[in-house]
Amino acid sequence: LPSSVITEGYFIIAALIIASVLSANVLYSTQQISQAYVERAKEIKNKAMMEVVIIFATGSNNSDVVYAWVKNVGKARIPSNLIEKSDLFFGPLGNFERIPYNASSPPSWNYTIVNDLNSNNSLDPQETISITIQLSYNLTTGDYYLRFATYSGAYDEYEFSI
């Protein structure tokens, strides 16, 4: 065999190896990017389908408890483990604080699903939760602010006076 043919053979093998390594890397990266797109789309979709409204909130003078009712008016179900991941802010207007869920000492908030129609322990669309906020102080006359945000960021705000 002429030496040029052998050299060409080596080049072909080298080209195939380089192309294989390159294609594997590029395909892997493309797949990762594609997956990221899909995940982002899922996130946006989930957020778009989530909507809650605080339908009522109240407290009494000299009481350290606030009651609120939050309705799921979106299209997505919120399982109980994700309801617990919601953020709740409460306090005098302009001076509110984040209230932790189910803390061992006040302030703390807890909830019950008041109309869990299919008993699946999730906040389904059009169902309502009753929230009890235990404060570390007594309410006095004034304006109060409440904000409830789901794990996906959908939120509603409510103000009331005592």
């Binding site: 060409e8 072909i12 195939l16 192309a19 590029v26 395909l27 990017i33 009522f56 008016v73 109309n115």
Partner: protein, 186 residues
């Protein structure tokens, strides 16, 4: 064999490029499909919210544990009777027992088996006429639709521990399925 390596390498790179383009296109398509679905869901929810509207027109306190509430569907969409349990009814009043302010979320119960609750007593259009379209089967409300312009008379009951002070009045808040609400005080 002259130049064959160049041809092979070029072919591999072209195939690779095509595969990458296809993968990107697929991801882009899935992304836009998902976005389209999200937007249509948002629109659907918002349309329902805009079309849904209710108004409490009257409250009659019969006694400290019983009242009637009239509420009219003045929206553009009907509410299926089977979904009445998804309607929120909240009562705010002064307790007879200790004069403290009480706020109660009341469950829907067509059989009146719960201690505190509400159900639909009657449904009508205008001031007297009965509803002719999609009549609600009362008191069970297991069929029918609360159509636009129809008024429901709700029965609201409390147990004696939760009796209200009739001299202090009462506030009723009703929230429909998609968040439309009405508040009324007597």
């Amino acid at each position: 064999l002259g130049g064959l390596s160049t041809v092979v390498a070029s072919a591999v790179i072209i195939i690779l490029l095509l595969e990458v383009i296809v993968m990107y296109q697929e991801a882009f398509l899935r992304f836009t499909e998902s976005m389209e679905e999200s937007l249509s869901r948002i629109a659907e929810t918002k349309i329902m919210m805009i079309k849904e509207s209710i108004k409490i027109t009257d409250i009659v306190i019969v006694n400290s544990t019983f009242l009637y509430v009239n509420v009219t569907n003045n929206g553009k969409v009907g509410i299926i009777a089977r979904d009445f349990s998804k309607i929120d009814v909240i009562l705010v009043y002064i307790a007879q027992v200790n004069s403290s302010k009480v706020t109660l979320w009341l469950p829907y119960d067509a059989s009146m088996a719960v201690a505190n609750g509400w159900r639909v007593k009657s449904a009508y259009v205008g001031s007297t006429s009965k509803e002719l379209i999609n009549p609600i089967n009362l008191p069970s409300a297991n069929s029918g639709i609360w159509d636009p312009n129809e008024t429901l008379q709700l029965e609201v009951w409390l147990d004696s521990n939760n009796a209200l002070d009739t001299s202090e009045g009462v506030v009723v808040i009703i929230v429909a399925l998609n968040g439309a609400s009405s508040i009324y005080q007597v």
